[in-house]
Amino acid sequence: MNGVLSDPFTISYPTAVQTSLNSGASFAKFDPSGSYVAGGRPDGSAVVWDLDTKAPIRWLEGHVKAVTSVDWSRNSRYLLTSSKDWNVIIWDLASDTDPVRRRATIRFDAPVVSASFHPRNSQIVVVLLSPGDAYLVDLRKQYRSRVELCEIQEESEDEGQGSRARSTMTVVRFDPTGRYIFAGTSAGSNIVFNTRTKTMIARHKISGAGIIRGLDFAKGGRRLVTNSSDRVLRQFNLPIYMSSTAEGEYIEQELEPTYRFNDPINKNAWHAMAYSPDGEWLAGGAADNASHKIYIWDLANEGQFATALDGGPEPLLHVHWHPKKASIVSTTNVGNILVWHCPTPERWGAFAGGFEEVDENVEYEEREDEFDIEDESEIALRKQKAEDEEVDIDGLVEDQSSKPADLTQRVADDDEDIVWAIEESDDDHPGWRMKVVVEDDVDGL
């Protein structure tokens, strides 16, 4: 809303640290509304911060070993935590109770590396376990299941294939539409599964990548960036996958990156990367153990390096971009969450009514009738006339910031994959409210 009133000229990546949240977290993620940040801690707890008040508002204590990932449901009501203690817990933040009520606990027989919600239904969860197997867990009554996502191995024709052995999955996540699951492997390829049929539909080899360490999508889901053990971030344009392929059939296609990003000087590896909400910028968190550096590249400008943000001496572990704004959260290895923003200079001219600041001197051109004396009644009449114009006090102005969010929702609703996913909907409605819990011991902090 205030975008309308503030200066239209804004650079769209953050430039300075606004606050540091001392949370003990090893990574942190914004919720889809951008109001909250959830951080996962090595001691097994997770904490939710309110960015309006810069205060922790919920402590989620359910794991006995380090939290490995967190994910928010699309309207932020449910929060998922995965842990090395073999569990995935889904928390219901709409519950008034303290501690926060769990909606589900999903147990596995190995440490959980990561877990995430289906973008359209928080009852569908994709999970990666530590040995490198991925499971799609469906909690819906009708479909209750736990299916392992298996890579179809090429039939070994020559001995070279046999020795390569089985590749394991190193990263698994949904694409923004939820129709596909993307998995990165230790063999340097990306495997694509159809979420509904749970079958592999494509494999993309990425030559020279080594082990895939991370994946991120631009909002529309058409572009993908990978992080891999060769210390290069690669961006790809994704092909369009057939909605239904015959059993066992899949596309074997090597993808050529549109851009490669690396650090030519320090040869740093990357801990994490994130697209800006408009997909025009990419942020990469450098795995440098002496500094906290976030590199920003301008994708609209041929992937040119734009800037490196310096967050001080505490090494970086994770970065996540705000879903709507030029803001980033980056986590340091001592548990501080840095909130980056784009500071706007104070405009002192705003304090005077009817006064406008200009950057440069403007030659003032006097209107012909500017100092003419006008009949007061005429002025009044003109004012009356102007006031006859109808005003709309109810209709909302279209909010620019909410537009990109809709892109992901604009997938044809007759798509059978989508229809399947939204069946037996969760209760994650947009209207729910995070209850304000007044601290009992206000002074005790």
Binding site: S6, T53, F351, D392, R433, V438, E439
Partner: protein, 357 residues
């Protein structure tokens, strides 16, 4: 200007008077004698708009406060009404039955404003004792006392998410509070005179404040930076402001007996509403239910309803016997609430007889 000045005589805390129901038809009993005949009021038929002219009639007349009532607000679901008064109490009333549900006591001086949290969990009250109290509606007791203002607190409002509270006072500052922790997040050196109203916009990204210095300022809620200032040429004291539901306009009452609708983007006054009297007190104005009309109290003891678009007075509500400081609109039904000062001290609930069923 403060209707709850600290030096006023302490009125004896008379016992609570039972609220009593007034039959809407039984008009004679409650209509006060008017000393002079009122000026002609435009007939409703002349100005009838497409959606029908309102015809608000008294449904309940409630009494209970022992001194001037300063503020009146409907709860978010419309089921309750909260009133604050110079008698240091906040009272909660049922809008269905007109009964007093609860009297909240705790402030040591008169109260100037009251606000419901949009989530229905809390109520906040601003007092001349320089504090703001946050009351839990579940427990009906104070859960936090916000301390920080260095003079009377005059106006308060919650953010849409209920996690923030904004307040203004005679120390000329606007403060943004963390409700859960009871601490000040920001202090804005907002004005050069007492701040008379302060409010968030519909999505909580803007704060607007107005003061006796006659300025209306719009602030970025996150950074606390001033985004713009709306000012008329002759700076009349600004009594009250309210954002339109879409935040494109601000309804501002000023003590030159005028209410103006400002376009926040162009900084222009697009509508002017006159006819009532406002020279002394900070009167509340609101959009009447349906968002087609403007409603305000008046120091001539009446309540005025204007057509939003034509700016004509469509109804004048009579009944109160002293200046009507506070009016409020029901969030969903065609109902108004109004409260009056020292010589009257009653609250009236008005229901539109022309309302669609």
């Amino acid at each position: 200007m403060s209707i709850t000045g600290v030096n006023d005589n302490q009125a004896s805390g008379s016992g609570e008077v039972e609220s009593h129901r007034i039959d809407a038809d039984d008009d004679v009993a409650m209509k006060p004698e008017r000393p002079a005949s009122p000026p002609p009021i435009p007939g409703p038929s002349k100005t009838s708009s497409s959606d029908g002219t309102p015809a608000y009639k008294t449904r309940f007349m409630l009494s209970g406060h022992s001194r001037s009532i300063s503020s009146i607000k409907f709860s978010a679901d419309g089921g309750m009404l909260a009133t604050a008064a110079a008698d240091k109490t906040v009272k909660l009333w049922s809008t269905e039955t007109g009964e007093i549900l609860k009297t909240l006591e705790g402030h040591t001086e008169g109260i100037s404003d009251v606000a419901w949290s949009p989530d229905g969990e809390y109520l906040a009250s601003a007092s001349d004792d320089k504090t703001i109290r946050i009351w839990s509606l579940e427990m009906m007791e104070t859960v936090v006392v916000l301390q920080g203002h260095t003079n009377f607190v005059f106006c308060i409002n919650f953010s849409p998410k209920s996690n923030l509270l904004v307040s203004g006072g005679f120390d000329e500052t606007v403060r943004i509070w963390d409700v859960a922790r009871g601490r000040t997040l920001k202090t804005l050196p907002a004005h050069s005179d007492p701040v008379t109203a302060v409010t968030f916009n519909h999505d909580g990204t803007l704060i607007a404040s107005c003061a006796m210095d006659g300025l209306i300022r719009i602030w970025d809620a996150e950074s606390g930076q001033c985004l713009k200032t709306l000012a008329d040429d002759d700076n009349p004291i600004c009594s009250h402001i309210k954002f339109t539901p879409n935040s494109r306009f601000i309804l501002a009452s000023t003590q030159d007996s005028t209410i103006r609708l400002w376009n926040t983007q162009t900084s222009r006054c697009v509508k002017t509403y006159t006819g009532h009297t406002n020279r002394t007190y900070c009167l509340f104005a609101d959009f009447a239910p349906g968002a087609k009309h403007i409603v305000s109290g008046s120091e001539d003891t009446r309540i005025y309803v204007w057509d939003l678009q034509t700016r004509k007075i469509v109804q004048v509500l009579e009944g109160h016997r002293d200046a009507v400081i506070a009016v409020a609109s029901h969030p969903t039904r065609r109902m108004l609430a109004s409260a009056s000062m020292e010589k009257d001290m009653t609250i009236r609930l008005w229901v539109d007889a022309n309302s669609p069923p």
